[in-house]
Symmetry: C3
Subunit: 657 residues, 3 copies
């Protein structure tokens, strides 16, 4: 468990390197990430590689005991490359090039881009394979789908489709191109979604997104293969950029040693509470990518700013508290972005730990304390894991399918996921993992499965098995609507899960922002919106009924005993307190660990190693808060005993054993 910083030796006078290295060591920093955007310095012209300056820099830091992660520079193809090989540039849907001068101006399917990326990565890998300071690699930077429409992308898209569907007939059939005369009679007629219209075949669009993910994965694999070959002892990772995301991170990270996250929680005091919960989801999602601990490769050090207005500066305690939140939820190393603010370039105002003035200030002092703490607790926490008892299911395919066809005003797949996670996890204090729908779910006793819109029999069977074996499964509206080709099932909803849920959807009303009301068995009423499934139980028992509109009195939510477990179906999206009660009850009846009574914005998490349990208690708000624990514990940070009543200052952190 290490503390690191992102450092760009090429941005500073050589004379500053040693000065910086010395201050890092004093501060407790033991790792830097370098070189990720330095292609123009590493290869100033085609074929001329200049690694001397980087050697010098790394050696300075090595002298001070600081290890190094090297970023491959493929996110920023240099001007000479673009000038000579224009196929490097991605084309938008109107076939305009995305011109250089910004980063990310590279097509993943560009032959030149692939050749030159592979070449410089090979040079770097052979050069640094045995450098004692270098421990691993980050490939590229914050991959995303670039939705390029160049000829190479068109060719590869057709190849991808031809591999998937074999024949045009199969493709026409699966996509239902007969609608609006969209049938293809030759492969050449298929193009990337040119023209910028949204008004297209949804099956085509979903496959396009999948192809785009595969393009990124392939582009990354080219580099990871080289790194594996020459640097078998180094790790290989990539720094992902938050959620929601069209790019499938599960696929992207398959071949990596671990996932890394760039984590920038909102610094606005107004958004402290929601930002903390959103951050918890992001961290749980990242841990769920490979179902193991991960790294933070960048995180907040000061007010971010770029071409947009700067954010608020992090308040005292903010940097430390959110750093501990990362560790609490599975981060094993924290790399702060960045050591010092850049005087040049578009990100001048994306502030580092040290300001342009190079005078360490309040934020740096807080970081220094954080380094002390992490380095002190590191031996205890090393090797510990976060083990969820409940699971929330997530899928990029679902996210993309809902983006392609929004279902109702105000209904957003990821926002709902966020709300369930917040309700399921943080508020009710249930230890939760967020995992891919494709993952194995046997270990979970409570599974929340938001809107399984694309549902095939494989997934349905897996979930049915979980329930049969005793799990509580919570399904929601828009489950079972379509097959994996984004084509509607001709079955009553929720299709392959109707039998397990013991209910079908008689009809639905996409109510959007219009507010409706439901009433539960105990007579409480709750407001709901977005969507109203009118349910027809077939074995299930109703647990809530609509109070208004023409479906007043009809069931809105049901529960069905299925095998040794239970299947809930919630046909609408309800206000938070409904879920607090429902999930709490479900968790209790499933025998899950819970921490009740957490104040708004206070989060709890546990890392375990063998019998040792480290409980993290985080006040991610600018307010004083009081938490009641079940007893008295030893505080690892304060080295004294705390509890049962714990008074927490703004952004306070407690770690007890």
């Amino acid at each position: 468990m290490k503390m690191g910083v992102d450092y760009y030796p090429e941005h500073w006078e050589r004379s500053m390197w040693e000065q910086d290295a010395r201050l890092m060591r004093e501060t407790g920093v033991s790792l830097i990430r370098v070189a990720e955007f330095a292609w123009s310095r590493l290869e100033p012209e085609e074929g001329r590689y200049e690694f001397g300056w980087l050697d010098d820099a790394i050696n300075v830091f090595y002298k001070y005991g600081i290890q190094v992660v090297i970023g491959t520079p493929s996110c920023t193809p240099p001007n000479w490359l673009v000038e000579r090989f224009p196929d490097v540039l991605p084309l938008d849907a109107m076939l305009h090039p995305r011109y250089p001068g910004i980063r990310g101006h590279r097509c993943y399917n560009s032959p030149s881009m692939r050749i030159f990326s592979a070449r410089i990565v090979e040079k770097l890998a052979t050069h640094y394979a045995n450098h004692p300071a270098v421990i691993g690699w980050q490939i590229d930077n914050e991959f995303g789908l670039n939705e390029c429409h160049c000829e190479n992308c068109n060719i590869r898209f057709r190849e991808w489709l031809s591999k998937k569907y074999d024949t045009l007939e199969a493709l026409n059939q699966d996509w239902g191109t007969v609608v609006w005369s969209g049938e293809y009679s030759s492969w050449e007629q298929i193009t990337t979604p040119l023209g910028g219209a949204k008004f297209r075949n949804p099956s085509f669009l979903l496959d396009w997104k999948r192809f785009e993910t595969d393009s990124v994965v392939e582009f990354q694999r080219l580099q990871s293969n080289i790194l594996r070959k020459y640097c078998p002892d180094h790790f290989v990772t990539h720094n992902i950029w938050s959620y929601p995301m069209s790019l499938d991170y599960y696929k992207l990270c398959e071949e990596l040693d671990f996932a890394s996250l760039d984590y920038y929680p909102s610094t606005s005091p107004d958004k402290a509470v929601s930002g903390g919960y959103g951050g918890a989801l992001t961290l749980d999602l990242t841990r769920g990518i490979k179902r193991q601990n991960f790294w933070i490769m960048e995180t907040i050090s000061g007010p971010p700013g770029c071409w947009f207005p700067m954010w608020r500066t992090p308040q005292p305690g903010f940097i430390r508290a959110f750093a501990w939140q990362c560790i609490a939820r599975g981060a094993d190393t924290l790399v702060h972005f960045r050591w010092r603010s850049a005087p040049y370039g578009a990100e001048q105002f994306w502030h580092g730990l040290i300001d342009h003035s190079n005078v360490p200030g309040r934020r740096f002092e807080e970081y220094r304390i954080l380094c002390d703490e992490v380095n002190r607790l590191s031996p205890l926490l090393e090797g510990s894991e976060v083990l969820g008892e409940a699971a929330v299911l997530h899928s990029h395919d679902l996210y993309n399918a809902f983006e392609i066809q929004p279902q109702a005003e105000g209904m957003n797949y990821f926002d709902n996921l966020k709300l369930y996670h917040r309700r399921a996890l943080t508020k009710t204090g249930i230890l939760t993992d967020v995992v891919n729908t494709a993952d194995d779910l046997d270990k979970y006793r409570l599974i929340v499965a938001p809107s399984l819109y694309l549902l095939d029999e494989t997934l349905a069977d897996k979930l049915k098995n979980c329930a049969k074996n005793g799990a509580t499964l919570i399904l929601t509206n828009r489950t079972g609507v379509k097959n994996r080709s984004n084509v509607c099932w001709m079955h009553p909803l929720p299709a392959h899960l109707a039998e397990a849920a013991g209910v079908t959807v008689a009809e639905y009303d996409p109510v959007g922002h219009d507010v409706h009301t439901i009433r539960t068995q105990d007579g409480k009423t709750y407001s709901c919106s977005q969507w109203c499934d009118v349910l027809e139980p077939a074995g299930a028992e109703a647990v809530a009924w609509y109070e208004d509109d023409f479906y007043a009195g009809k069931p809105a939510a049901t529960v069905h005993s299925y095998g040794k477990g239970k299947v809930y179906y919630i046909g609408t999206v309800v206000e938070e307190s409904f879920y607090l009660e429902l999930f709490g009850k479900a968790a209790d009846s499933a025998g899950l660990t819970r921490f009740t009574g957490l104040p708004e914005g206070v989060q709890i998490s546990i890392r375990r190693r063998g019998n040792a349990n480290y409980l993290f208690l985080l006040n991610l708000t600018p307010k004083q808060q009081t938490v009641m624990l079940k007893g008295t514990y030893r505080s690892l940070l304060q080295e004294m005993s705390v509890g049962p009543t714990v008074h927490m200052d703004p952004y306070a952190v407690e770690i007890v054993e």
Copy 2:
């Protein structure tokens, strides 16, 4: 009078055809529209026509007594056509093609498009001319202006202009191109309005819109000529897409047997009232296109949805009530879109009468009842007509001219028309037609003429004659501003109508959203906005005066006795109650039929045949309403007597004789 549905045999397994046909017959459906988007099935590759599947489908339905309207498929050129003849694709103002994959990707002036459309229509026409099930044709689908900028459009635009103006000198003169050195010294200098700027010569822009309409009309004529030639016994129609609209529907429908409308009233309960009034205008406009009854070629069957979020589901009674509204206002046949929701394609969630599950539900049951009712009353209503006593004038040219140059914040030609129609018609219960400014108006005793901004002597003379012969004419602000070339008259406003109105506009204040007040003769005050003409009577009598601003005390509205009639001039846009009073008074003094005291959202209409009068009373709201009739009538639906007090349930329909 028939009930029909839109049916796409190509979307379904053949085995479902017979099953669907049987259920249609049981339900009372006697008509389907087919094939409108099926080009890729009808001509899978160039010159290979495959009508066998359509023959089979039609024969199945024919067996069940169901008649067929065939849609020509020119709205969806297939991929092979686009691939081989790229001139098919329209180009936007930046010369980007509108790529296929969406429908409507065809330039009306593309030679290939014309040739291939004509060819397939000829094939279809000869093939189906004598099929006993086929009764008529719909050309293309929901025409609009596509504002294409391809070379063919440029050439034809120049031809069109040269035909209209003969010489460049005349064009330069009429458009006033001398402003900003816009004079053309060769025809080649004239292009379609490239570049996307709004900031152009308004005379040019208005002619461009007219050219665009003529391009559509010519494209349609190519098909209608063929259909007339081979299928002299079949009707030919087109399904228009609502209002407001830049394309001139009057011109478009000139050569058709009757107009058809695709009618999708808003399903949001919040918009029920305004949606019902807006719908009344749409239907009256459609009846006014050819001043005769029309068809509904598509109408709402469930929640619409596409690339946008789905709408609310129609509440119980909604589908039936809005179907009756169509008939009440002149529809002779209703074709619901669509029989069953499509599992594939961009319109998957544009719901049909039956859901994807193929289980008929609540909406289908309502439709079944509607079919029963319509089929039962059909012999009575057959041949009856809606005959308005008042007229509201409408023109696409005016709409386009105001779109090109908005006059004041919040002033919108069509919105004002909607308000006058609502005030003139529905609220005060006056039987109203909405007709083209170019139409003959002799029969009307009350003529509301909103903002006759483009006014020539011909139109002015016609209106003056109406007034002279006893009609009451209501003029509003922005009358007589320009000639037909969109050039300002150098006369005091309202130009050629100043003498008839007995008033001139001394000056005006485009007040926009700023609210002003007027006071009428009887001392009542009303708020007004958008525009304030300061009036100078020259023979007219003031009927309202401004209360504020520097024109306080100056006339805001006048009335002038002219010949045997009267001419009102309303210089501002006033709140609704002002018009209720004014229009009511004008109607009474003109001796028009009126139904006073209608509750908000309840609409009345009359269809006549000879001496028979069928009065339709529609509660287009989700609320219970009470209406007082003048006596007791026989209810055709309930087969009992109703009135004078009629209690109406939400979405209730009464038809009395």
Copy 3:
């Protein structure tokens, strides 16, 4: 001092010229501006010049004693020119041409544009050099940056850079292109900012703006050189288009005889007060361009309107009051736009003094009175000047730098300048100039310097000298952030002014719209927002402290005695009353003239000539106002004595000696 109008003889029948000239003379008009958009009439085809019609028109007006300013027509290249030489058209960042049909469709760096502009200007200059009616020239119309991306612009941009930086190494160094591998290895790699992304190197973007200004200046110089050569006795000016503006007007006007302004204050009664203050700033800025009196080349005559909705009509007194405001702040001649509204073209509804009907109305009558008054007072005011005692500093470079990188939500350089000017000048009645940061400032005793974000030692030294010599200097947040290359200084803020201000910025919080509070020495509290610098005095005395957030109790504003003067540093943006107090106090302690107690919206100004002082008192509001003067004065307009109490009607004007 003259009254003029913009007149377009080419828009009217010849028969109207004499009629118009006669009415002008009767009205007191002695000047017209002509020909500025008449290229297509002056050169109907390449090389065929037709000046006869203009000769005829000018001669008619000359006969009536009316002088003429000729506008060069280079803003509107005619169609034949564009058709034959497409390089005339500017290209946007996606390389789409800006098509003709609108004005301003010309690239400043187009060789054809330069050749043909020079040619027609030479023809005009030689033709009219000795015409007795012609007194001067306006070049082009309302220059702005056109941000063209054509090949010519790219070539010239590279030349410009190569001249500025000499070597690529120097450019790479100054711009810090090493960030994100943006280093250039050949000049050809540098392009204009293609692609429309905002996300770019800020040093590059700022130089691009400077190059763009220089392109305009060079384009103008081509014409001014010709005019100087052939018409040595004529003045040469350009009519600028308001503020804020990316184009550097100081550079643009360097070679002109005087600046001219097109001045269109908002006619909305709701915006009367703020419009009046904004107008005061615009006029003071215009006077500051060359630090001398200027012309109004266009100003409001009726409701403006074009492709956007029309504005409100000017209320009675508005046209006159805002005309006098121009004179009060340094205008020596007023040219109203336009004599009569155009019946044709995109600006049909940009109303002139006379409406389309050609019937002079209320507005014309007001204009007639204005002409009388101005002509009557002209001998007195001729040669008088407006002499500010305080200065507000302004720079287009600063404006551009802040546009490239907004600092915080709601923080806008020009809006803040406007607020300081309003607070500094109008409300507290201090006589203020607004001058370029590069100007000599010796004469000012109070200097308000908003956000000197780009600060070099030269500017810092000049300001320090002013303070040393006794001036009071008021600095604000975001001072000293960067050098002139838009690269951050690595010094504590405010960098080179820290010593003079006696304070450094320990850290800052970009609070944006979040409202904070400060407290001053006398215990008053004020709200502040946008930005909070946390100050660390080093010699300065705190004068205000933050009341909240983690920097509660820390200084927010300081004052430092420096030499014979004082330096204030205000670290945040505070509500208006704070500045009223602060600036008032500073003005008093600096011994400046002040007019206290002016009601909201009433403005005061002084023109001096020798010992004569002409005080202008303007009520630029639609409300009655009362002003207390220090004594009794002679009213020049009323020719009676007024004061000390002056009751002012809406839009009333008093001029006293």
